[in-house]
């Protein structure tokens, strides 16, 4: 039996799981507040634009987006298997590709800011 390369996909899953546990609820709360009409100051265009223009924020944002999406993708892959979808390789390819593509897109949008 050979040792598996699963750590490649599991490492970012565990990191993303931890990151989203700490960060995602409060971020959702911010957009929910905005949606309910109580827009946090940061979400005003000028401030948001200036904030996202900083290179450190860009790097951090791409990291957060990638890790969040990757851990979600990994969980979805396993849940599909649990629920009886046996085409694991196909499912894995699709969900990981979405995570990577969206992260690349986020990086590209940030470069335009």
């Amino acid at each position: 039996m050979a040792r598996s390369n699963k750590p490649i996909v599991w490492g970012p899953f565990a990191a993303g799981g931890t990151l989203t546990a700490f960060l995602t609820p409060v971020l959702i709360l911010l957009t929910l507040l905005a949606a309910l009409g109580h827009v946090p100051d940061l979400l005003a265009y000028d401030r948001m634009h200036a904030f996202a223009a900083h290179w450190l924020v860009k790097v951090a944002t791409v990291a957060v987006v990638f890790l969040s999406l990757w851990s979600a993708a990994h969980r979805l892959r396993i849940t599909c298997y649990d629920l009886g979808v046996r085409a694991d390789t196909l499912v894995a390819a699709i969900v990981y590709a979405i995570a990577v593509a969206a992260s690349v897109a986020a990086a590209a949008y940030l470069l335009l800011i």
């Binding site: 929910l32 905005a34 100051d41 996202a52 993708a73």
Partner: protein, 129 residues
């Protein structure tokens, strides 16, 4: 005596055996909401890059009833993910100081405290109040 072992095939039956299994599924399904909301934010970045009108339209779109319901659900699932994640952390990362292991609830508790403080800090820095 002839052997003829009987194999019971497993599909979904396990989900109904005990409440812990649907609870596990619920925990895993939090990924749809966390992932979905993150994709929405990537869309937000695109709108931000397009200028003030696009950004205003994005914030407007957030206000639709469907979006509010989805975000409320996403928040509930995200909190559920955090709670389950921190409750399980001591199992993955036990800490032995000297002879004894630090109690699970101390490790979890520390994570919950950091989570709370961090969330508060983000709310303050973002000018939510």
């Amino acid at each position: 005596m002839s052997r003829k072992p009987y194999v019971r095939a497993l599909r979904w039956e396990w989900l109904t055996r005990h409440p812990r299994y649907p609870r596990y599924l619920l925990r895993e399904l939090s990924c749809l909401f966390i992932g979905g909301w993150t994709l929405m934010m990537v869309w937000g970045l695109a709108r931000l890059a397009q200028g003030p009108e696009a950004w205003a339209a994005f914030l407007d779109a957030l206000r639709s009833p469907a979006s509010i319901v989805l975000q409320a659900l996403a928040l509930a699932f995200a909190v559920y993910h955090s709670v389950t994640w921190f409750n399980l952390t001591p199992k993955a990362l036990p800490l032995q100081l000297g002879e004894d292991f630090v109690a699970d609830r101390v490790i979890s508790g520390a994570h919950f405290a950091v989570w709370g403080l961090l969330s508060l800090a983000v709310l303050l820095l973002a000018g939510a109040f």
